[in-house]
C-alpha cells in the first residue's frame, strides 16, 4: 500500500481557482469568437461579456420539459458536472490541484466522453427528429475526434512513461518532443475547429439546418447549463495544446505562467473566430474523411515517437 500525500491547502485552493478561471473566462473567450465573426462580416458585434449575459438571462427563463422523463432532466446536469470535474483535475500552469492525483489521462478522456454522452442522452430523450439528427452527427464527430485529442496526450505518456496528468502535460520539454511533436502541433491546429465544434465542423448544431440539433428542445436553465458546458469544453480544448506544447516560463512565478497561458489561449480563440467566420460548414461525410486523414497522420506521429 502506498499512502497518497495529503492535499495541501494550496492545492485545494487550486481546485477552486481552476474552476473560477474557467467559469469566468469561458464566456469571455466565446465573446471573442462572436466579436471576430462580427468584424469579419462588417458588423459591430456584441460586447465581450454578451455570452455571460445570455447564460444569466436563460437561467431565469421558463424551463419547458417536453418529455417528462428522467434522462431529459438529468442530461444537462451530467454534462455540466462532468466538465467541472475535468477542470478540477486539470493541472494549470504546471501546478497539480488537490484532485489531479485521483485521475489519470485515461480517466480524463473518459470524463470528457461522459459530457458528450450526456448531450446525446438529452438529445435522444427529446422526441425531436432534429435532435436525433444532431445527436447522430455529434456522436460521429466524437468517435473521430476524441482519439486525436488522446493521441496528443499520448505523446507525453510515451516520453514520461506515466499517465499522471502533470507528467503527461508538463513532463516533457518542448525540444524533446522532436518531429512527432511538430506533427502533433500541426494536427491540433487542423483539429482545433473540430475540438471546439465550430465551423467548418459544427455539423451537430448547425443552426441554419438543424436549429441547434441536440439542444433544440431545451430552454431556460437547462439550455443555460448546456451552453455553459459547451463554452467550458471549448476553452478546455483551446487551452490543452497551449499547456502541452508551449513551455512554461520557468520563472517560478505561477501567476506569470498562468497569465501567459491564458493570453495564448485568448489568441487561439482569435484564430478560432477567424476560421469559423471564413469557412462554410462541411457535410458530415466530408468531415469524417477529413478526420480520418488527421487520425492517420496523428497515428503516424505516434508510431514515429515509439520508434525513435
Amino acid at each position: 500500500m502506498t499512502s497518497t500525500p495529503l492535499p495541501t491547502l494550496l492545492s485545494i485552493l487550486q481546485v477552486f481557482l481552476n474552476l473560477l478561471i474557467f467559469l469566468a473566462l469561458a464566456p469571455l473567450f466565446d465573446g471573442i469568437v462572436r466579436r471576430v465573426t462580427a468584424r469579419v462580416q462588417n458588423r459591430q458585434g456584441p460586447p465581450l461579456v454578451q455570452s455571460l449575459y445570455d447564460i444569466l438571462k436563460l437561467l431565469g427563463k421558463e424551463n419547458i420539459d417536453s418529455t417528462g422523463i428522467l434522462p431529459f432532466r438529468l442530461a444537462p446536469l451530467i454534462a455540466f458536472a462532468s466538465m467541472l470535474c475535468v477542470i478540477a483535475i486539470l493541472p494549470m500552469a504546471g501546478r497539480a490541484t488537490a484532485l489531479t492525483q485521483y485521475a489519470d489521462a485515461i480517466s480524463l478522456v473518459y470524463l470528457l466522453t461522459l459530457g458528450g454522452v450526456a448531450v446525446l442522452l438529452g438529445a435522444f430523450a427529446s422526441k425531436n427528429i432534429y435532435a436525433l439528427i444532431g445527436a447522430s452527427r455529434e456522436m460521429t464527430t466524437m468517435i473521430m475526434v476524441e482519439p486525436i485529442l488522446f493521441m496528443i496526450l499520448l505523446l507525453g505518456v510515451l516520453k514520461t512513461g506515466s499517465l499522471d496528468l502533470g507528467a503527461v502535460i508538463y513532463g516533457t520539454p518542448m525540444a524533446a518532443f522532436g518531429l512527432p511533436g511538430v506533427v502533433m502541433i500541426v494536427v491540433s491546429l487542423f483539429g482545433l475547429q473540430a475540438f471546439v465544434a465550430r465551423q467548418p465542423f459544427d455539423m451537430a448544431e448547425a443552426e441554419q439546418e438543424l436549429l441547434g440539433g441536440p439542444f433544440i428542445e431545451y430552454s431556460g436553465p437547462n439550455y443555460a447549463l448546456f451552453k455553459y458546458y459547451m463554452m467550458l469544453k471549448q476553452m478546455f480544448y483551446a487551452y490543452l495544446p497551449i499547456a502541452m506544447f508551449v513551455p512554461l516560463l520557468g520563472t517560478g512565478f505561477y501567476l506569470a505562467d498562468l497569465a501567459l497561458q491564458l493570453a495564448l489561449t485568448a489568441l487561439v480563440f482569435l484564430l478560432i473566430g477567424l476560421l469559423s467566420a471564413t469557412h462554410p460548414r462541411y457535410r458530415i461525410d466530408q468531415a469524417i474523411r477529413y478526420f480520418g486523414v488527421l487520425f492517420l497522420i496523428a497515428l503516424g506521429a505516434i508510431a514515429v515517437a515509439v520508434v525513435l
Binding site: 417536453s66 422523463i69 446536469l77 455540466f80 480517466s107 470524463l111 468517435i143 505518456v157 510515451l158
Partner: protein, 620 residues
C-alpha cells in the same frame, strides 16, 4: 481438502443432472418446472460456490484428481483460476434460471413444450462447469464440451418452427463440433499423449517437439477455443446468428458465460500449456499474434455492432468486440512476460484487465440480454427501428438497462471502466519496449468510443426517443417483479464491480496464490504484485520508480461527479425559473406514423458508410 472439493463438484453436477432427469416430467406445469429448475441450479450453484471459496481460501493450488467413470479416467483440476469461473457460471446460471420462470411464459412460447428446455438447461450448466474443471484435452474435455454444445444447440433452436432459427442453430452446432475436433486432434496428435493425458504432461511433451509441430499444435488448440470465444473471423460465423435467435435468458448465458469458457481455454493454453523449455522469443511471438487477433476482433466486432438494428444482434456483435479486449489483454500479458523484466509488471496489469473484463462482461452483457428480453416480452419486438419511448412505460427495466449500458461503454466509475483502463494502460505504458502495443492501445480507445455510440443508440432508440405503436396500444407495461428481481441482482453486482475494483484485485491475488503455472510464478511474487496498490478508493499502478503512473479511483470520481452535479442543480435553480411541460411540436403526426420518425437505421449513417469495409452491414 483436496478430496472434498472433488466430492462437492460431483455432488453439484449430480444435482444438475438429476434435475435434468426429473424436471421434464413436470413440464406440464410450466411454472413449477421452472421453479424446480431454478432451485436445482441454485442448490448446485451454492455447492459449487462453496467449493470455490474453499479453493480460493487455500494456501496453494489443490492437487489434481482422477475421476474414474466406468473404464474412463478423467483428470480433474480445480485451482483458483477454475474456481472464479465456477462462481461466475453458478451465479449467472442461477439468476437466469429464475428469470426463465417468467420469461418462458411469453405469448410466443405458449405453444412450445418446455420438456426439452428443462432437460437441456441443467445439462448446459453442468457442461460449462465440467469444462472449466477437466484437466485434459481428450476424454474429459470431450464429455464436457459435448454436454455444453449439444445442450446449448437444443436451447438455441427452442423456437424450432422458424427455419431461420433452425439454420442458425445448425451452423452453431457444426462450427462447435469443428472447434471440438481441432482441440481434440491437438490433444491426441502430440506424441506421447492420448486419452486422458493431463495438461501438465501435454505441456512437457510439447516442450520436446520441434518448433513447427509445436506451433501447429498450439495453433489448433487456440483455434478451437478461439472459435468458442468469438475470435475474429470465426466468431462472426456463428455468434451473432446463434445469440440473436435463442430465447433471451439463453442468449444471456451464451454471451455472458459460455464465451468465457473459450477465454478460459485460451488462457490455459497460453500460460499453462507452454512448457518451460520453450524459447522466450517463440512465446512472445504467440503473445503478439494473439494480441493482434484481439485488436482486430475488438475493432471489427464493435464496428459491426454499431450497424445493427436488431437489439440482440447488436448485443451479440458487441460481445465479439468485448471479447476482443480480453484477447488483446491476454496476448499482451503473454508478450510482456518475456526476458525484459521491466515489462513483467505490465503483464500483471494486462492480465488483471483480462480477468476483470471477464467478470464485468459476464455480468453486464447478461444484464443487457435480460433487459432486451424484457422489452421483447412486453412489446413483442427487438427491432430498434420500431422500439422507442419505453422509459415512461417500463422505468425499472430502463434504469437497469441504463446501468448496464454505461458499464459496457466504460463510463468512469462503472464496471467496464476499470477493466478497460487496465487493458489500455498496460498497452500504452509499454512505450518503446513494445511499440506496436501502443498502437493497439490507441485502436482499443477508438473502439471504446464506438462501443459508446452503439449503446447510446441501443438505449436511446429503445427507452428514450419516441415509439409509434405503443402510443396507441395500452398493453405495454413493466414486466413482473419476478422478472425484475434477477435483473436487479445483476445490476447490483455490476455496480459493485464498478465501484469497488480493489475487491476484485484482491480476488485476483487469491487466484494467483492458489494456482500453479507461469502466471503465479512470474506475477504472484510480492515484488511484482505490489505494483498494484489497492485501497477503498480504487487501484493505483506503480511505475518502476515506485510512484503511481496510472490510477483508476471510481469512488473518488463518483464523489466528484456528485458534488459537481449538486452545483449544477443549484445553478439550474438559482434563477428561480418556472417549469412547465409541453409536448414537442413537429408539425404533427410524429408519434402516429413510423415514416415520420428518425429511425435507428438512419443513425450514424455517414459513419456506417465510412466503415462499410468492416462488414456486418445491415441492408436498409
Amino acid at each position: 481438502m483436496d478430496q472434498s472439493i472433488y466430492q462437492s463438484l460431483q455432488t453439484g453436477i449430480g444435482l444438475l443432472l438429476g434435475c435434468a432427469v426429473i424436471t421434464p416430467w413436470l413440464s406440464g406445469k410450466r411454472q413449477w418446472a421452472g421453479a424446480l429448475n431454478f432451485l436445482a441450479t441454485l442448490a448446485a450453484g451454492l455447492v459449487f460456490s462453496g467449493l470455490a471459496i474453499q479453493v480460493l481460501n487455500g494456501n496453494s493450488a489443490p492437487a489434481s484428481f482422477d475421476l474414474h467413470l466406468g473404464g474412463l479416467a478423467i483428470p480433474l483440476l480445480i485451482d483458483g483460476f477454475s474456481a472464479v469461473f465456477i462462481v461466475l457460471i453458478s451465479l449467472v446460471a442461477a439468476v437466469t434460471a429464475f428469470y426463465c420462470i417468467g420469461y418462458m411464459e411469453m405469448d410466443h412460447y405458449r405453444h412450445y413444450s418446455l420438456r426439452s428446455f428443462h432437460f437441456c438447461y441443467p445439462v448446459f450448466i453442468a457442461g460449462m462447469i465440467a469444462l472449466v474443471t477437466v484437466d485434459d484435452l481428450s476424454t474429459g474435455f470431450t464429455i464436457a464440451w459435448q454436454m455444453m454444445t449439444l445442450a446449448s444447440f437444443f436451447l438455441i433452436r427452442f423456437d424450432h418452427k422458424d427455419p431461420v432459427i433452425v439454420r442458425s442453430a445448425n451452423k452453431y452446432l457444426i462450427l462447435m463440433e469443428l472447434a471440438w475436433a481441432a482441440v481434440l486432434a491437438a490433444g491426441l496428435m502430440i506424441p506421447g499423449c492420448g486419452w486422458g493425458t493431463p495438461l501438465h504432461q501435454i505441456a512437457d511433451q510439447l516442450g520436446m517437439l520441434d518448433t513447427g509441430l509445436r506451433t501447429l499444435m498450439l495453433a489448433l488448440v487456440l483455434l478451437g477455443f478461439g472459435m468458442k470465444a468469438g475470435m475474429f473471423p470465426l466468431g462472426q460465423l456463428w455468434l451473432p446468428d446463434a445469440h440473436s435467435v435463442a430465447p433471451s435468458p439463453i442468449s444471456a448465458l451464451l454471451s455472458g458465460v459460455m464465451l468465457k469458457t473459450g477465454i478460459y481455454g485460451m488462457i490455459r493454453t497460453l500460460f499453462w500449456m507452454t512448457p518451460e523449455s520453450m524459447p522466450a522469443r517463440e512465446l512472445q511471438y504467440w503473445g503478439l499474434a494473439v494480441a493482434l487477433i484481439g485488436v482486430v476482433t475488438l475493432f471489427i466486432g464493435t464496428s459491426q455492432s454499431l450497424k445493427q438494428v436488431d437489439a440482440k444482434r447488436l448485443n451479440a456483435y458487441s460481445s465479439i468486440g468485448q471479447i476482443g479486449y480480453i484477447i488483446l489483454a491476454i496476448g499482451a500479458a503473454r508478450f510482456y512476460l518475456g526476458p525484459d523484466a521491466a515489462l513483467h509488471t505490465l503483464a500483471l496489469l494486462a492480465i488483471l484487465g483480462a480477468f476483470l473484463h471477464v467478470l464485468n462482461h459476464a455480468i453486464f452483457k447478461s444484464l443487457l440480454f435480460l433487459c432486451v428480453g424484457s422489452v421483447q416480452y412486453t412489446t413483442g419486438t427487438k427491432d430498434l427501428d420500431k422500439l422507442g419511448g419505453l422509459f415512461a412505460l417500463m422505468p425499472v427495466t430502463a434504469i437497469i438497462a441504463g446501468i448496464a449500458a454505461i458499464a459496457v461503454s466504460g463510463v468512469p466509475a462503472f464496471s467496464g471502466f476499470t477493466s478497460k483502463w487496465a487493458i489500455v494502460a498496460s498497452t500504452l505504458l509499454s512505450g518503446k519496449a513494445a511499440g506496436i502495443f501502443v498502437i493497439f492501445g490507441v485502436v482499443a480507445l477508438v473502439t471504446s468510443a464506438m462501443t459508446l455510440a452503439t449503446y447510446v443508440k441501443l438505449y436511446g432508440m429503445t427507452f428514450t426517443s419516441v415509439g409509434v405503436e405503443w402510443n396507441e396500444k395500452n398493453n405495454v407495461h413493466e414486466v413482473s417483479k419476478a422478472m425484475l428481481a434477477p435483473k436487479a441482482i445483476l445490476a447490483a453486482v455490476c455496480l459493485l464491480q464498478g465501484f469497488f475494483p480493489w475487491l476484485f484485485v484482491a480476488l485476483f491475488g487469491r487466484v494467483l496464490a492458489t494456482s500453479e503455472g507461469t502466471l503465479s510464478q512470474a506475477l504472484g511474487t510480492p515484488a511484482v504484485f505490489d505494483t498494484l496498490a489497492q485501497s477503498y478508493s480504487g487501484i493505483r499502478f506503480l511505475g518502476s520508480a515506485g510512484t503511481p503512473v496510472a490510477f483508476s479511483l471510481p469512488l473518488v470520481m463518483v464523489a466528484m461527479l456528485l458534488v459537481a452535479g449538486l452545483v449544477a442543480l443549484w445553478l439550474r435553480r438559482a434563477g428561480g425559473a418556472e417549469e412547465r411541460s409541453a409536448p414537442v411540436w413537429l408539425c404533427g403526426y410524429q408519434t402516429l406514423n413510423n415514416a415520420n420518425r428518425y429511425l435507428s437505421s438512419h443513425i450514424f449513417d455517414a459513419f456506417k458508410k465510412f466503415m462499410k469495409w468492416t462488414g456486418g452491414n445491415v441492408r436498409a
